[in-house]
């Protein structure tokens, strides 16, 4: 277990983040009659190299929060600071250089890879787009990345449909890492995978964190998975964070009823996974 009390300026600081979706009614002219409070005043921080787990049932606003942090959707209010800089509400162009620093891994490995593009393009496009590499240098870097995430460099020319779910998620990881970000937001990266594959991916993420000094905002509905990888955990329910604390603290001694419910729902692990989980926690 890593020491979670790392001093210094927070890498990501989210304060009072709110995202409301309006419900409009009106025969001809829309009036806002109500709103869905998807994210309703959420605050958390992620330190350099740290993993913050964000748990909650589906519909609790986790994914919306992630997207609001990355400015993929516009937050209704609140502040998002990256390395001390306010990014909430800034323009697309100003946001662009910051995109290098913060990347995302998506939940659905099938939908998140463009089926009409080759792996080399998928992983290499960000590099090319940001002007980091091109030509044979690009190819070399991409192939290196592929190998690093556990794929073969020969996969460079293949299409996504030729890969299994776990392999695809590795591609997604390679894509996220290609720009060498400081923060990676993982939106339920393993929930769509078989249980056996889940562990491999989680371990890979863990290894990469060490290697690249990454910070993760790790979102999942399964508190068991989150507990394994996170330094700290925040529990979200109905758009609000109901409990936040170190991983052990939240899991061993939950304060909120909702957290307790989540913990109770964790399936009884099979022996192998429990072993892995155990060995993981010893690392």
């Amino acid at each position: 277990m890593r020491d979670s009390t790392n001093p210094g300026a927070p890498l990501l600081e989210v304060t009072d983040l709110v995202k409301h979706f309006p419900i409009k009614r009106g025969i001809l002219i829309d009036r806002e009659v109500d709103q869905v409070r998807a994210v309703d005043g959420v605050s958390f921080r992620v330190e350099q190299g740290e993993t913050l787990g964000l748990v909650g049932e589906s519909g609790s606003g986790k994914s919306t929060a992630c997207r609001a942090v990355l400015q993929l959707i516009k937050p209704t209010s609140g502040s998002v600071r990256f390395e001390g800089r306010e990014i909430s509400g800034i323009g697309r162009r100003e946001m662009r250089p910051l995109r290098r620093e913060m990347q995302m891994i998506f939940q659905d490995p099938y939908a998140s890879l463009n089926p009409r593009k080759r792996i080399g393009q998928i992983v290499g496009d960000p590099l090319k787009r940001q002007g980091i590499a091109s030509g044979s240098e690009l190819r070399r870097q991409v192939q290196e990345l592929l190998e690093r995430v556990g794929l073969s460099s020969e996969h460079y020319n293949r299409f996504p449909h030729e890969f299994s779910g776990g392999q695809r998620q590795r591609i997604g990881i390679a894509r996220a890492l290609s720009l060498k970000p400081k923060l990676v937001i993982c939106d339920e990266p393993v929930s769509a995978l078989d249980v056996s594959i889940q562990a491999q991916i989680v371990n890979l993420l863990d290894d990469l964190q060490d290697e690249f000094g990454l910070a993760y905002l790790f979102v999942a509905h399964d508190i068991g998975v989150v507990r394994h990888i996170s330094d700290r955990i925040a529990v979200m329910n109905e758009g609000k964070i109901v409990e936040q604390g170190s991983a052990d603290q939240v899991c061993e001694n939950p304060q909120d009823e909702y957290t307790k419910k989540l913990l109770a729902a964790v399936p009884i692990p099979d022996p192998r996974e429990s072993r892995e989980r155990h060995s993981g926690s010893v690392q």
Partner: protein
């Protein structure tokens, strides 16, 4: 879409393999190629066999068939029938009407015009439709609303009536819209009318597909990596529309050809003395009881071309997207609107 050559198992090569397995489709592709070769050979036939151009008139001339002199057009205005090689290839299919032009030569040159119009109009309509659909489906909101209403309007316009009016407007003074200058007799007139009026038929279904695609996570992924709207539309979404576009494009060629025939029939298409299969049917229908072949031959050519393109389009659809139910519906809906529209639907198409 590939930038790399080695693509043995890419979706395109898979599709090609699936397509080649459909023997009927391959046969009809062959037929289409033959038709293209047929019209391309027009100058060869005109110069070396028929010894006449497509617009040369032989009203009062006589030809020698098996040593016998025959009128090309009788004093009662009856054109000569097919001579096959009886007159050394002259009037192989007879004369085209009372002006005594060589039907075979006109059929070949007319086919060029028809195919040229079909392909160009289909290309323009498809490009316009895809751009509009991308804009509407990606930006949504008022952009979508505006585009949708514009398409609705085009859809509701009486195409043939308008084509006709444009024909008159162009003949009298020509038309200048910005840098675009049109004059009567230009084949750009039917091309323009056809492409504008067929845009809705393609844009509607593609817009739906763009809507669905832009919800996909890979689009978010691209945005997360700093891709702007243009890049997302053209580099992420567009490649996924490729199979639909190809299918539509083949079907649109067929449709445009029928549409052109309809416009020409109404006098708003290809202008005499030039011929297209549509104008030839028009002339032929009038002489149906004298020389039925004059209407039936160009009709048959259109039918075969359209048939070939439809079957090839169908097979492409199956090959490119074997499980793509949504796309299939879209393509079918397109045909419901566009397919019937061509040459047949008056007010709407």
């Amino acid at each position: 879409m590939s930038t790399e050559p080695s693509a043995e198992r890419g979706p395109w090569s898979l599709a090609l393999r699936r397509f080649l397995r459909n023997r009927l489709a391959v046969a009809f592709l062959g037929l289409f190629v033959l038709i293209v070769l047929f019209v391309l050979a027009a100058p060869l036939w005109a110069d070396n066999v028929a010894h006449t151009g497509p617009n040369e008139e032989h009203t009062v001339e006589q030809i020698t068939v098996d040593g016998e002199k025959k009128d090309v057009v009788t004093p009662e205005g009856k054109p000569i029938g097919p001579q096959w090689f009886g007159a050394d290839g002259k009037f192989f299919l007879g004369a085209d009407g009372r002006l005594g032009r060589d039907e075979m030569v006109r059929l070949m040159y007319g086919g060029r015009t028809s195919l040229q119009i079909g392909i160009t109009a289909a290309l323009i309509a498809t490009i316009l439709a895809v751009v509009l659909a991308l804009l509407a489906g990606y930006f949504r909101g008022w952009v979508d609303g505006l585009i949708a209403r514009t398409l609705d309007t085009i859809w509701s316009l009486p195409v043939f009536l308008i084509g006709l009016a444009l024909g008159i407007a162009l003949a009298v003074g020509g038309l200048k819209i910005g840098p675009l200058e049109l004059s009567s007799g230009s084949i750009w007139n039917p091309i323009l009318v056809i492409s504008i009026f067929t845009v809705p038929y393609i844009a509607r279904p593609i817009r739906g597909q763009v809507l669905a695609l832009s919800e996909k996570e890979f689009v978010e992924a691209a945005v997360a990596q700093g891709a702007g709207p243009v890049r997302v539309m053209f580099s992420e979404i567009l490649p996924n529309l490729a199979s639909t576009i190809i299918v539509f494009f083949t079907l649109m060629i067929a449709n445009s050809m029928l549409f052109e025939a309809g416009l020409s029939f109404l006098g708003a298409g290809v202008q005499p003395p030039n011929s297209s299969w549509g104008t030839m049917i028009t002339v032929g229908v009038e002489l149906l009881n004298i020389q039925p072949l004059l209407a039936i031959l160009p009709g048959l050519m259109i039918m075969l071309t359209v048939l070939a393109l439809n079957i090839v389009g169908d097979a492409l659809r199956d090959a490119l997207d074997p499980r793509g139910k949504a796309r299939m519906d879209a393509a079918l809906e397109f045909e419901a609107q566009g397919g019937i529209a061509t040459g047949q639907q008056g007010a709407t198409a």
